[in-house]
């Protein structure tokens, strides 16, 4: 085998090795592929059980509650068809606001409450994350109300 061919094999080996590590990473770590769901999808059971995912929507105005004197906050995320309560312990990001878009990262906890380990309210100058805006656009009227 010529030196050139040996080198080629070595380089291919490196690329393959790193690629294998990547594949392992994707399979092994739960947190690698984070899927986004809106509250309706979560309540319909689309979101994975026991795994972390991202939930997004609008923060229902008036829903922000603090457990007085502690870091614990609760608020409600809605897509106007359905809502999911969220519990979070820690500092909320600067851009978090009621009536604005939000994305929370965590997993479903007891009693249908989403336990967030991270709350994101910043994407760009528009305070509505694109995924949220899209999921809030009603494709057709649900029914002519009576």
């Amino acid at each position: 085998m010529t030196p050139r061919r040996k080198r080629l094999l070595a380089v291919l080996g490196i690329l393959a090795g790193v690629g294998a590590a990547a594949a392992l990473a994707m399979l092994a770590f739960e947190d690698n592929l984070l899927y986004f769901y809106n509250p309706s999808q979560v309540l319909a059971g689309d979101a994975p059980d026991g795994r972390t995912f991202r939930i997004g929507g609008m923060v229902t105005a008036g829903s922000l509650q603090r457990t007085d004197g502690t870091l614990e906050v609760r608020f409600v995320v809605t897509d106007y068809r359905n809502s999911v309560p969220v519990r979070y312990e820690g500092l909320l990001p600067d851009l978090f606001r009621e009536g604005q878009g939000v994305i929370a990262h965590g997993r479903m906890g007891e009693g249908g409450e989403f336990v967030a380990d991270e709350v994101l309210a910043k994407h760009d100058e528009n305070y509505m994350p694109p995924e949220v805006a899209e999921s809030l656009h009603e494709p057709q009227p649900a029914r002519v109300a009576e």
């Binding site: 609008m58 809605t78 106007y80 528009n126 805006a133 656009h137 009603e138 494709p139 009227p141 109300a145």
Partner: protein, 179 residues
């Protein structure tokens, strides 16, 4: 000529990426259908929501910039954008007409009475024909039409003050707002 696959690979990979981006271009909900971009707003004359004997339409707001907001009581995001619309109307920079889409007249009127009415008039489109003309795929949607009757902007999704100020307000002077 032997095709140098090894050397062509990078170009092919890039072509795949470009294809994906091109698909992304086509998918944007905020993009006006090409039939409407820069074209005259589809004219309509519909029954007013409040008074079936009275007609409202595009002719009423000719020769000035105006906004059309498509909404319905069945549409929860419309409910949430409503306070923003009321506030925008309070600023009174540009008249806003509502297009009540596939809705119940009584419920719609009750809604406006309860939540406030930001519209100078509301057109009633129970069958959705006018909405189809405007390329409406869902609610809420908000259009900006200039003084020449040309559609210059469309926003899909609930309006926020931030979006209004950053995406609509800068266009108002050129669109011919009446001062």
């Amino acid at each position: 000529m032997r095709i140098p696959w090894r050397f062509l690979a990078p170009a092919l990979l890039f072509a795949a990426l470009a294809a994906v981006l091109a698909i992304g271009l086509r998918m944007d909900p905020n993009r006006l259908p090409s039939a409407l971009i820069g074209k005259p707003a589809p004219e309509f004359s519909l029954e007013s929501l409040g008074d079936p004997g009275w007609k409202v339409g595009t002719a009423d707001l000719a020769r000035q910039a105006w906004v059309l907001n498509v909404w319905g009581t069945w549409c929860p995001p419309c409910r949430d954008e409503h306070p923003t619309l009321v506030e925008i109307a309070r600023e009174n920079r540009v008249p806003m007409m509502g297009l009540n889409w596939r809705d119940d007249r009584t419920l719609a009127l009750k809604w406006l009475a309860q939540l406030g009415n930001p519209y100078v008039s509301v057109a009633y489109d129970p069958e959705g024909r006018t909405a189809i003309d405007w390329g409406v795929t869902g609610a809420p949607e908000t259009f900006l039409i200039d003084a020449n009757g040309i559609v210059v902007k469309k926003y899909v999704g609930p309006m926020t003050m931030d979006i209004w100020q950053r995406e609509f307000v800068p266009l108002l002077p050129a669109a011919g707002e009446r001062r």
